[in-house]
């Protein structure tokens, strides 16, 4: 163990050197050669790689399989889950997991009959939104994903107890477990047997194994081939401009040109001033454009809506800069805005002024 510890310490030193400027590279190389790494492999590649320590495997091997291998011991109550849900999850997923505002709904579309049968009947209806609980066939999937990737802006920040609690709360919202339930590693196998769509998946298809057989086949007919000789579907006229001006999405030389699908052709739009173009880049750097656009509300308000709201407000620039820096919630709705750690104060100040100017292109 002590030899291993030494080795790891040396590796740490190497890593530190590797980040240093180029002149340190020679030293790093020398250091690396000091680390006599005995390959435990089948002898093929001497000195390449090193054994993973137990702590490292524990830190990274977080997956939970359908047989619940990998599930850490623990428990969490529905009540606790509700608290966590309302503080960390509801802003994107809705208080009852029903929201489609940011992501597809988690809850909805399942019935007590589905829970009995293990198949979700509403999946056959074309109009139904397909919620997570309608589709998910493995409880391990829910636990694993919440544990590895939630919340969206702070993955892996939930404790084991919290993951159990949130998973339990989702199951309670779907009427799979009662409100006084505590989900744990001891009872999760039993709860799996009540998951509404547990029998709703199949491996009976040819697209998994290389040797699989295709389920749909055409023939290579060359002449007088049977057709219905009509256009069954075409792009609705109303959808034609939905993807912008196609003339601007095709090369301006060659055998074809893009069709003009928006009245205001490119020539009409003045070329972006370098300063304004730089601002859009800055907004992108701050990851603002994931939720905000200039003219259109997405998750958050459009920049132009913000400009309109604060028009003539002398303090707006400072207020907005503070919001960008630290995040905010409540002014435009329940969805919180995370802070922008990628931007420095000067950049934030510029961005705030640009937004208040109506985000000119």
């Amino acid at each position: 163990m002590s030899r291993l510890t030494d080795m790891l310490a040396l590796c740490g030193a190497c890593a530190a050197f590797a980040c240093a400027p180029a002149q340190a590279a020679g030293a790093a190389k020398a250091q690396a050669s000091v680390v006599a790494r005995e390959s435990p492999t089948e002898g093929r590649w001497q000195g390449i790689g090193r054994p993973a320590t137990a702590a490292e495997v524990q830190a990274w091997d977080i997956d939970v399989r359908p047989d619940f291998k990998g599930l850490p011991k623990g428990a969490g109550s529905v009540a606790r889950g509700q608290e966590i849900w309302e503080s960390k999850c509801a802003s994107c997923h809705g208080v009852f997991g029903e929201s489609t505002q940011v992501f597809t709904s988690i809850i909805g579309g399942t019935t007590p009959e589905d829970i009995k049968r293990g198949r979700v009947a509403s999946l056959t209806k074309s109009s139904e939104v397909r919620t997570t609980i309608m589709k998910v066939s493995q409880l391990s999937t829910l636990w694993d994903y919440i544990n590895r990737a939630m919340p969206w802006n702070a993955p892996r920040s939930l404790s084991t107890e919290e993951v159990y609690a949130v998973t339990g709360y989702i199951l309670n919202l779907a009427d799979v477990v009662p409100a006084d339930f505590t989900l744990s590693d001891a009872n999760i196998g039993e709860v799996q047997k009540k998951l509404p769509n547990r029998n709703g998946v199949t491996l009976d298809h040819g697209m998994w194994q290389v040797s699989g057989k295709a389920d749909v086949r055409n023939t290579a007919c060359m002449k007088d081939c049977p057709t219905e000789a009509k256009v069954a579907s075409s792009l609705p006229v109303s959808a034609r401009p939905a993807h912008g001006n196609l003339a601007d999405q095709n090369r301006t030389i060659g055998p074809v040109r893009g069709a003009v699908t928006l009245a205001q052709a490119t020539q009409a739009a003045p070329a972006a001033a370098p300063a304004a173009a730089g601002m859009a880049d800055l907004a992108n750097k701050g990851a603002c454009l994931s939720c905000h656009q200039i003219e259109r509300k997405v998750v958050g308000p459009a920049f132009q809506e913000i400009a309109a709201k604060y028009k003539g407000d002398a303090k707006a620039s400072a207020t907005l800069a503070a919001k960008i820096k630290s995040g905010g919630q409540g002014v435009w709705g329940a969805v919180p805005m995370p802070p922008a750690p990628n931007l420095n104060d000067e950049e934030i100040g510029k961005l705030a002024r640009w937004i208040l100017d109506g985000a000119p292109r």
Binding site: A149, V231, V299
Partner: protein, 454 residues
Amino acid sequence: MPAFKRVPAGRPMSGRLRKAPENFLSRDEIGEVAAGRRSFLRSAFAAAAGLAAAGAARAQAGPGEDIILKPQPWATSLGQPVASNPYGQPSKYEKNLMRRESPGLTRVSAASVAFSPLQGMFGIITASGLHFERHHQGWQDVDPAKHRLMVNGMVKQEMVYTMDDLMRLPSVSRIHFIECGANTGMEWGNVAVPTVQYTHGMLSCAEFTGVRLIDVLDALGYDRKKGRYVLAEGGDGSGMTRTIPMELIESGEVLLAYGMNGEMLRPENGYPLRLVVPGVQGVSWVKWLRRIEVGDMPYATKDETVHYVDMMPDGMLRQYTSIQECKSVITTPSGGQTLLDKGFYNISGLAWSGRGKVKRVDVSSDGGRSWRTARLETPVLSKALTRFNIDWVWDGAPVVLQSRAMDETGYVQPKINQLRAVRGSRSIYHNNAIQSWKVAALNDGGEVGNVQAY
């Protein structure tokens, strides 16, 4: 030639063939050239001779295109020095070809997709900057010195590798396509989007360089009998996880890749390490790859249970649908483009199969009644994009263009109604139907529209 084509009466000028203010011959002059060059040349020579006699040999006279007759700035000035763009960029005239999102497809750009502009791409290699993007929790630019790959599970020794380690190992370079399982997914029911960028642009092809995963597992000693599945896990916030059957890895095709098109992977494509799983949908090509686990059962991860499951008409979800079946699409001419005039065109497109090489591509210009076999351009590689071309003369009448690929297993790309007959229309994933483009009559503008015809 197109520069001399006449603009048909009644066609809008903007965005299409435009008569530039000073660069073209006049209508009369074109007529003169077309009628027989003799008189045109004679007058030009006479003028030149007269001028030469007058001692003004360099002055221009007579008809001709100003682009030719008048010196252009790029021919009469000093150009830019080397390395003024230390990392080269496309011409400023190429800005129209870029990755784009499909408005309204997703609500959050960090869990979204940017489509490749197939409508303007050539050959089979996707320029790295145009490679499609699909992220589940945003992209990261990971410090390669701090990146580690752990291999654990049913191996004799659980190991950790640095990028130094991996890049010391024997490498291979291979050209493969990558296609998102949801490519063309918006079109299962009806036509939804206008151009090939949005119908088929979750598709790219690159030369990937890396270590064969089987070599690493062999060196470690994995459980060949029970260890029939591998979990690949990403190091980003989504911790993307997908199960890969060991059978695929044992084929030697699955790579731990760090190189793409001769340079390191781009951050959006998983820098510094991603899994390459030829023939299999893009979600399995785990980016920012941090861990490989050998196990004895599939893992039923989120993107194998809630997403990337193909819904059948009876509501049953096909799980682990992975292989991208044979597919093709005409990229030129394609949706949202306008043909400049009737006459000769080179119909060009892409074909690919997750089960091997493309064997043949047929093209129809009558909505599938009759087909002609296209030329396959070399190289034709297994599980790589294959470029096809075929000559076509357009008479200006409305037509429906289609391409239909066949792979080396004999599988023929199906029609959308054939797919729907088996799988319904709500699957989202694995729509490999024949694509139809309807070219409107020249008199109606010659615009190509996305349609379904079978």
